[in-house]
Amino acid sequence: MPESNSQQIISVGIDIGTTTTQLVISRLTIENTASGTFVPRVEITDKEVIHRSQIYFTPLLDHDLVNAVAVSKIVETEYLAAGLTPESIDTGAVIITGETAKKENAKAIIDALAGFAGDFVVATAGANLEAVYAGKGSGAALFSAQRHQVVVNIDVGGGTSNYAMFQEGKAVDSSCINVGGHLIEFEPHGDRITYISKPALLAIQSTGQRLKVGERVTLPQLRPLVKAMAASVVEVLKTSMHSGLTQELLMTPPLKLEYPIRKVIISGGVADYVYAPCGPATMEEVTAFGDFGPLLGWELKVSFEAAGFILEKPSETVRATVIGTGTQSVNLSGSTIHLQDGTLPLRNVMVISPFTSTVPATAKEIAEVIKQEILRLQIDHSQGMVALAMKGPRTMSFADINTLAQGLVAGMEDYLRQDKPLVLVIEADCGKVLGQCINAVAKHPLEVVCIDQIEVEDCDYIDVGKPLMGGRVVPVVLKTLVFNR
């Protein structure tokens, strides 16, 4: 069995948002970091962005329907610019966010991109996943792990601000508020209003002003309104008792504020103006891009500093989300996988966690619990694929692992009759022995995908890519849509 000790994979990240579409291509290095006498441990050791696309306006057919063919043209153009062919792409993720995060769009984009990357993963992401990717791309996740400090990343874009709180590198909370730099549109470099969005109208009303489309506006008129929006963004970090405006603008449940927060990182298109040495002085500077992004950025800085927060610099601003998507969406399974050829890749595997606390003591009870859970979730066996997730066996003893194997095979009896692979995701380091036990228990040869040392949450979906490193690991993309539970 030929085994190399290091391998490079090319990963693509595509972010299709309400206003912009971007793409980055990264080179991930995966290596066996364990010394020769240990069981191999494969990790991503380096992430290098090798190509950044220009920032495109998202091609739309109508208000919220994406022109998938035009998106595929963008991808084609950018591959060419990067000097890559679709065959050289190993993995990747498309994240569809904001108003465009709809099923029809996802389907159309999967079809349109089918020729561009064999193992592509498409995730329609809620605001929460978007927030987490932005925080990973901006360096907030790394900051929290290196400094051992809780940090909140706020990705402030055109329409929304996405919060993701990180502790020791892990996203622990997220939220989203309808504040962004593009909610009011102007004549570029001018002072005439061309569009006012609904959330902007709420802010205008809260300050008692009466701005209308077609009117000209001065900086002193605009500033209090932008200040009100910035104050709402800050308020979510300070208290759970929100003002009326904040309550109306919040699009998801607010942050739970379980940890004291002192440090904040701001990413997204508006972020460049947060970290600018001085704010815009004229309306011409404010509306340089036909919106009020520069002013919002400056007012956010003023509000956060006045409230006593420390603003740390992001490593990426406007490209944080797409870089997060391209470099951070891929996880590697532990080195102990039990796979058979031809089963992979698998897409949109629904993850269920049948055991709430500990795994029952007997195989019969385990089988019972699994059957009940499948009944409860009304999973139709003829439909999609299911993965069973669990922390581990009752104990790490061989006897308990064997019992678990018997229970799993018995509990999934009906499902396995459909000739579907048995997909297991387990946190403990026992994937290989569990796979071995299952094969010993099963009466006929089973297709077993047993992925260990990965944590998933209940009811998430996962995509499992083709094996890497001579079959020792598989890339797993987790689609974690909900944190607020």
């Binding site: 240990f38 069981v39 020791e168 790490m396 003893s397 692992i401 380091d429 290989k432 022995v433 071995q436």
Partner: protein
């Protein structure tokens, strides 16, 4: 007896005090004070007869008082089994840290000096033979004796072990009997299951007392197996005394050198879990059988 001693003490202390007072070295007031202390009925000395167990605080509990960044210390403690975040009392370790250190040292010594119990060998249904080292002391002083079977043991192996199998499994106490008792019950069944379901012919596992790694060469020369694997107790450290290594070699002979052995180390509940190690070793043995080589020669074929 204790009472008499106590009385005697009082008399001695009293006369010493009076002598000192006479010479003007002790004021009346100080004398009374010291006497009162000496007269306390129950001595405050620790009771060495007590069987009470000392309970250590959990290992992951941070012992630093007033840390600058407690989260950072906790994260660092999670990343290593080393004794960090234990605080200090002045320039010295805290009592609990010192006691834990001494206790862990005692555990390590036990691992070396105790034998694998007869009851354990019986429970695991293991045939047992001994190396040429007749006692623990001899085993520790004469490494060469631990590397071959005793004459009697060689005879038993020749008579009772199956010959010409693909794989022979040895369980060797080495420097930690604790490692054997802690890991073999989960490792051995996983390994046997893996080898058997792969259709590999395995001889009955054999236990060697007072053995070292090289004893596998002697056994292999008698049973004529393709691969011999020794599951052997590692030299215990203060982190764990239960760590086990697996040494594998393809057809050892008189030209065998250390580089011909493949080793997987660090098998214990805090390292590679023993059951998972059993499944992993199955894969490694399959590679060795396919390549007809082990150690560096195997790696060069990869």
């Amino acid at each position: 007896m204790a009472v008499a001693n106590n009385e005697l003490e009082k008399v001695i202390i009293q006369s010493v005090m009076e002598e000192l007072a006479k010479k003007g070295l002790l004021s009346q007031k100080r004398k009374d004070h010291v006497m009162a202390a000496a007269m306390i009925e129950t001595p405050t000395l620790p009771d060495t007869q007590s069987e009470e167990m000392v309970t250590f605080p959990p290992l992951n509990e941070m012992q630093i008082s007033n840390p600058f960044n407690a989260d950072a210390v906790k994260a660092m403690m999670k990343s290593t089994p080393a004794r960090i975040g234990i605080g200090r009392a002045g320039a010295r370790p805290k009592t609990m840290s010192l006691l834990r250190f001494l206790a862990d040292h005692a555990v390590a010594q036990d691992a070396v000096f105790l034998d694998v119990s007869e009851e354990f060998l019986k429970r695991m249904d293991l045939m047992s033979v001994q190396s040429a080292a007749t006692s623990k002391d001899e085993f520790l002083q004469r490494p060469d004796l631990g590397r071959r079977l005793s004459v009697e043991a060689a005879k038993i192996v020749a008579e009772k072990c199956e010959k010409n199998v693909q794989v022979q499994i040895l369980i060797v106490d080495g420097l930690s009997s604790s490692a054997i008792e802690a890991n073999i019950p989960d490792l051995l069944p996983a390994l046997m299951q893996g080898l058997k379901s792969s259709g590999i012919k395995v001889g009955a596992p054999l236990f060697v007392k007072n053995g070292r790694v090289w004893v596998q060469d002697h056994v292999a020369s008698i049973v004529n197996c393709e691969v011999i694997i020794s599951l052997i107790g590692e030299r215990p450290g203060l982190g764990t005394a239960e760590s086990l290594s697996a040494y594998m070699i393809y057809r050892p002979d008189e030209k065998t050198v250390e580089a011909d052995r493949t080793v997987i180390s660090n098998i214990h509940k805090g390292g590679i879990p023993p059951a998972e190690a059993g499944a992993h070793l199955t894969d490694v043995i399959k590679q060795v059988l396919a390549a007809k080589a082990s150690g560096v020669k195997l790696n060069q074929q990869k």
